[in-house]
């Protein structure tokens, strides 16, 4: 398997805190790959090491088959979690700058920038200053800066955070488009719904360690149809402590109960109906969301 990114036993230590602790995974070329995990799991640190912004204290990272170096950065597009643009520059000029520092000539960068601006309906704003743009438009401009130089690998750290649904779906389409034309996509998120829709493979990180890694469909299959959707009246707090229950995800109106693989949902129904008034009972495939919660020990990913 040709890999776009490969990590071997990578660790990063800040003082006495091991932010990333022996992480290994491979991102195949042409894939859409998700790094999932709760806040503080080590996602951003991992991504910064892939971008050669931080140096790992242990282990080895190879990107696009090479060891990290400055020339390599030209082939990688990067959208950091904390976004920033030169606010005083004009949009087209700013994009031209971002293209040029990726090794493009300025005319080439300008042409590409104008194409992208038109595609994202930002063409009329090209001569305006960045600070005049609305937040949504700035998100678009920032995205263009990352993809301008036709990267072989696009690294996105929490790309959808803070976006309205319109932009979310726009960027999802653009990312899929780029992927179809050969760009490998690596992104981190704690929004399981997005990851579930986009990713072919994922790695789940918690406390700096890999909890699960592999093809998303296979990970889900490992849990089988072992999830139960329940709606009821009464206090369902005891459900978490029943035998064979791995996790409970409370949505308020309903709960999703994740069972151990092979456990019998009928037993759960019997236990539950003895104490609660059941209004709905449905056996389903577990969502990535509930798997996530079960695996990282009940910490809410939205915390």
């Amino acid at each position: 398997m040709e890999t776009a990114v490969s990590l071997r036993d990578v660790a990063k230590v800040f003082g006495s805190f091991r932010a990333v602790d022996g992480v290994s995974f491979d991102v195949p070329r042409g894939d859409i790959f998700g790094i999932l995990g709760p806040n503080g799991a080590g996602k951003t640190t991992t991504i910064r090491m892939i971008m050669d912004i931080l140096r790992p204290d242990e282990g080895e990272i190879r990107v696009l088959g090479e060891r990290l170096g400055d020339g390599l950065k030209d082939r990688i597009g990067y959208l950091p979690e904390e976004r920033g643009l030169y606010r005083k520059m004009k949009v087209a000029e700013m994009l031209e700058f971002h293209g040029a520092i990726k090794g493009m000539s300025r005319t080439e960068a300008r042409r590409a920038a104008l194409l992208w601006l038109d595609r994202l309906q930002l063409g009329e704003w090209k001569e305006r200053k960045v600070e005049e743009l609305s937040k949504g438009m700035q998100q678009k401009a920032q995205f263009v800066a990352a993809v301008l130089a036709k990267p072989d690998l696009l690294v996105l750290d929490e790309p959808f955070s803070g976006m309205d649904p319109v932009n979310q779906s726009l960027f999802k389409d653009v990312i899929l488009d780029l992927n179809r034309t050969g760009t490998t996509i690596l992104f981190s998120t704690h929004q399981m719904e997005t990851a579930e829709k986009l990713c072919r493979r994922i790695v789940l990180i918690d406390h700096g360690k890999v909890v699960r890694e592999g093809v998303l469909a296979e990970i889900k299959a490992g849990f089988g149809r072992s999830s139960v959707l329940l709606e009821f009246d009464g206090d369902g707090g005891f459900l978490r402590w029943l035998p064979h229950v791995i996790g409970v995800d409370d949505y308020g109106q309903s709960v999703e109960v994740l069972l151990e693989p092979g456990a019998d949902p009928q037993k759960l129904l019997a236990e539950a109906s003895s104490k609660l008034r059941i209004r709905r009972f449905e056996v389903v495939s577990p969502t990535l969301h509930s798997i996530f919660i079960a695996l990282v020990g009940g910490e809410s990913p939205h915390a």
Binding site: D52, I53, K73, G84, Y86, R87, H98, A100, I101, A145
Partner: protein, 425 residues
């Protein structure tokens, strides 16, 4: 290289496009020039009005010689500037003045000068007028009066009766200063004027080193706080970013300094062509092409020495308030040679000045001050530049590491020992 050039271009254009930079680069020197010309021409301008001054002379010996003396100063049309009128004595000098005073209010008289009977008495001479700020008139009267009174004293003492001999005795003693220039040629020169010219450029050097250093610091802080930093680091190494930023802003400063030096050079040529003598010419002597070249060289070297430290401060801080604390000691180091330059200009070849100008952090200002006032030995200049280059190299070795670690640090500012540890390993 392409990346560094792109950063340099962006930094340069962003700053050069600012109105404040244009004002600082072109308008302020023009204002200073205008002010200088204004002062010089105001000073040289003659009041085109004839002034009638009344003399109440208690001694009775002053009128004729004084009239003769003040008549030497002529208006453009050839009439004497001051017209002296004898006020007939009415009992006392005091009474004479009082009687004539209303004529000043009626503009009939410009002023009244009184002289007591005893020419040796303290405060024997007084000037009364509505406008006592007209230095030209007062100076002219004073000069004439001094000359005349001393002559009368001589005559009365009987030491010398002959008028020619009196003039010989009274011939002024003038100490002329000569400067041995770089070419070994002795040139007549006023020391005071040399100080002005040197001092203007020392102020510029001090301000430029401080302001452009702080500009780099602010630039780094800004990129940290608006989070552009991480996007940039996704495209280039911290070293490339730092080099690009420092060179870009340095070029902006260099452009400005070159404009200043060229303006001074042009003014010097113009003054040379006009054959103007005196204060202005003396002042411009300190802006010879060689001295201006040294000025630019010491700006560049000083900039590189200080800017590294400012860049590192920007990298480890999160806000300007935080940076202020770290910035203060650096500013202090820069203030020392600036303050010492007063002494160094006055004693450019003293031991203290020589040693001070060889300390790298003081070299840019102090060595320039010495070059501008005397011609220090070439080996001293060469040594100071060598030490400066060595210090720049040492500073940057540490700064590059601090920058790399610092730019992505948010949150608590590291302590100075921590920062120094980064610089070492």
């Amino acid at each position: 290289m392409h990346k560094v050039l792109t950063v340099i271009r962006r930094e340069y254009l962003e700053r050069v496009r600012k109105k404040s930079w244009w004002i600082g680069t072109f308008v302020i020197p023009l204002l200073i020039l205008g002010l200088m010309f204004g002062m010089v021409s105001l000073f040289m301008m003659r009041t085109e009005q004839q002034r009638r001054i009344g003399l109440a002379d208690g001694s009775g010996a002053l009128f004729e010689p004084l009239q003769e003396a003040v008549a030497e100063k002529k208006l453009k049309d050839g009439r004497p500037q001051i017209l002296l009128e004898r006020l007939p004595l009415l009992g006392s000098v005091e009474a004479t003045r009082k009687a004539a005073e209303p004529r000043i209010g009626k503009k009939d008289l410009y002023a009244i000068v009184t002289a007591e009977k005893d020419l040796y008495a303290e405060n024997a001479f007084r000037f009364y007028g509505q406008n006592v700020g007209n230095i030209q008139i007062i100076a002219a009267v004073e000069r004439a009066l001094a000359e005349v009174v001393v002559r009368v004293r001589f005559e009365r003492s009987g030491l010398a009766a002959d008028r020619a001999e009196i003039e010989r005795l009274m011939a002024p003693v003038d100490l002329e200063t000569f400067q041995i220039s770089e070419t070994g040629e002795a040139r007549k020169r006023g020391f005071n004027q040399a100080i002005y010219g040197t001092f203007i450029f020392i102020v510029i050097l001090y301000m430029a080193l401080l302001l452009y250093g702080i500009a780099v610091m602010r630039g780094v802080l800004e990129e940290k706080s608006n989070r552009v930093m991480e996007v940039l680091l996704g495209s280039m190494s911290p070293r490339q970013l730092m080099v690009g930023k420092i060179l870009g802003i340095g070029l902006v400063g260099l452009t400005q300094m070159a404009v200043y030096a060229a303006t001074a050079g042009a003014l010097r040529m113009w003054v040379g062509a006009q054959n103007i003598q005196g204060d202005l010419a003396g002042m411009l002597d300190s802006v010879s092409p060689l001295k201006m070249a040294y000025f630019v060289v010491f700006f560049v070297l000083g900039y590189f020495l200080y800017v590294g430290i400012f860049a590192a401060i920007g990298a480890v801080c999160n806000s300007e308030q935080e940076a202020q604390n770290l910035q203060t000691p650096v500013t202090m180091i820069l203030v020392v040679p600036y303050a010492a330059s007063f002494f160094v200009i006055a004693n450019p070849d003293s031991m203290l000045a020589t040693v001070g100008s060889l300390i790298p952090f003081f070299t840019p200002i102090l060595m320039y001050a010495r070059i501008s006032t005397i011609s220090p030995p070439v080996w001293e200049i060469a040594l100071s530049i060598a030490l400066l280059l060595l210090s720049i190299w040492l500073v940057f070795r540490g700064v590059a590491k601090i920058f790399r670690v610092g730019v992505l640090m948010y949150g608590k500012r590291p302590t100075i020992p921590e920062i120094l540890r980064w610089a070492r390993d």
